[in-house]
């Protein structure tokens, strides 16, 4: 079986800055692969380049198809759900409209989405801009899950959420990962340890380490690659 994602020698230059300098990585099907690294090393840019949101050179193969140069909507329709870093819910639209917009299959998985986020069912008529940060994150994830797509790109889902919500979120993502392959960008090491089986570490626009997630249990490794203390 092909990988969910194969990236070779990915380069991105934005406004004269060479942000990705030859990123190569593989994401096997199933489970969670975490894309780690300090702030500003190019994690979000990598996800955006995979989706064709920023122009890139190199090779990107998603679910066995070469997609580099494709428009974003075509890449997504191959079967890619995207949860962006800042949630990017449509604030002026209701929860229902946000979800309706994401429908790309004849039978969207509303039951599954509402069983993961029962709170959303009660708020379908509420404008997404009036939701709390945690609820907005639910909408953002729900949009990505609605079509039951095989690959999910999830960018810092725990950012800005209270610790209790982070734990609930991790639980949801754990369930999601049993259904889809997840490439997760995340700064919260506890979440990464709980969810990820594999880690890919970026530094200065390149992959500097690929390995099993439990390597992060070694505080030296964690500090070396991520610049975080207290990794244990």
């Amino acid at each position: 079986m092909t990988n969910a994602l194969d990236v070779t020698d990915l380069h991105v230059t934005i406004g004269g800055s060479h942000i990705l300098q030859g990123v190569s990585l593989e994401v096997p099907r199933g489970g969670v692969t975490a894309l780690l690294g300090r702030n500003g090393v190019g994690k979000t840019t990598t996800l955006r380049a995979l989706l064709g949101i920023v122009p890139a050179t190199g090779t990107v193969r998603i679910l066995g198809t070469d997609v580099l140069g494709w428009p974003t909507h075509r890449i997504v329709r191959l079967g890619v759900g995207y949860v962006p870093e800042d949630r990017d819910v449509f604030a002026g639209l209701t929860v229902e409209e946000n979800l309706r917009l994401a429908e790309q299959t004849p039978e969207p998985h509303y039951d599954e989405v509402y069983s993961l986020f029962p709170e959303l069912r009660a708020r379908t008529r509420q404008r997404a801009g009036t939701l709390s940060g945690g609820q907005q994150q639910m909408v953002s994830i729900a949009r990505a899950l609605l079509n039951g797509w095989p690959l999910l790109l999830v960018d810092e889902p725990s950012k800005g959420l209270a610790p209790r919500l982070v734990s609930e979120l991790a639980e949801v993502l754990e369930r999601v990962a049993t259904l889809s392959t997840v490439l997760l960008v995340e700064q919260n090491l506890a979440v990464v340890r709980r969810l990820a089986q594999r880690v890919v570490v970026l530094d200065h626009g390149e992959v500097v380490h690929t390995g099993a997630a439990d390597e992060l249990d070694d505080p030296v490794m964690a500090r070396r690659f991520l610049g975080v203390a207290g990794a244990s």
Binding site: L51, H73, D88, F90, A91, G92, E97, R100, L101, A102
Partner: protein, 301 residues
Amino acid sequence: MTVFLSLTFSGVALGAIYFLAASGLSLIYGLMDILNFAHGLFMTLGAYAAWDAATHAPASWGAPVIFVVSLVAAVLGGALAAGLTEVLVIRPLYGRPVSQILVTIGLDLAATGLLLGAFGSNPQSLPVPLWMMEASHFAGVSLPNADYVAFAGGLVVLIALEWFLRRTRYGIIIRAGVENRTMVSALGINVARAFTLVFVIGGAMAGLAGLLYAVVFSGELVSPTQGDSLLIFAFIVVVIGGLGSIRGSAVAALMVGLVQDYTNFYLGNHPGMAEIGNLSVVLLLAVVLEWRPRGLFGSTL
């Protein structure tokens, strides 16, 4: 009091035409970041399409039917011109917003020049039913029926547009695209289709505005530069209402129409004050921008 009411009604009719002219402009900017200077051309072409249809229709159809035919021609003419502009001129320049703006200016200048070459600078007379020029009484005020038609046209379009934007999938896509175009694509939606649709809808409304303006305020005359003079006010309405906001356009169009009408009547007869109506609109723009720099309704629909 009767004079004031009369002015109010005719100001509302003018506002309705400004709304028709401005709402497409606002949607196009909101969704695509394009200040579409060719929008005046869509108004002019709509008016010419109406004139062409009305002058070629058999007289045996009767004036009311011919007017309806010219109304349909104006809408279709504006929509077709706008759709072709988007597909042939704007689309090849996606991702280059400055070039897109410049090309709309060039298109407007070139097409207006062509119209002047083809029809001359003398306006063409648009056949309209006599009934349109007759006056009807409402709330103690006597106004030409054309004013009521303009008001009804604006109201019907506002309601239809609100319904479309709130109830249909493409309407939701357009509202979402005004907020965050990239995220709409990232949900698997081909935003380019929404771009064309917004141009077509905007062009249809502009064509209707072109026709109604000719009927109500231009003595049933159609001229090559009429859309451009209307465009200036449409831009002012869009900025006052808030770029991308349909409701904002509706409110701002009414404000501009009323302010222009009142000041023209009460102050315009004084020596040296002939342009006071236009000046008052610019002052209104300045005051609103000083108070709310993003316009009355910000950037949401």
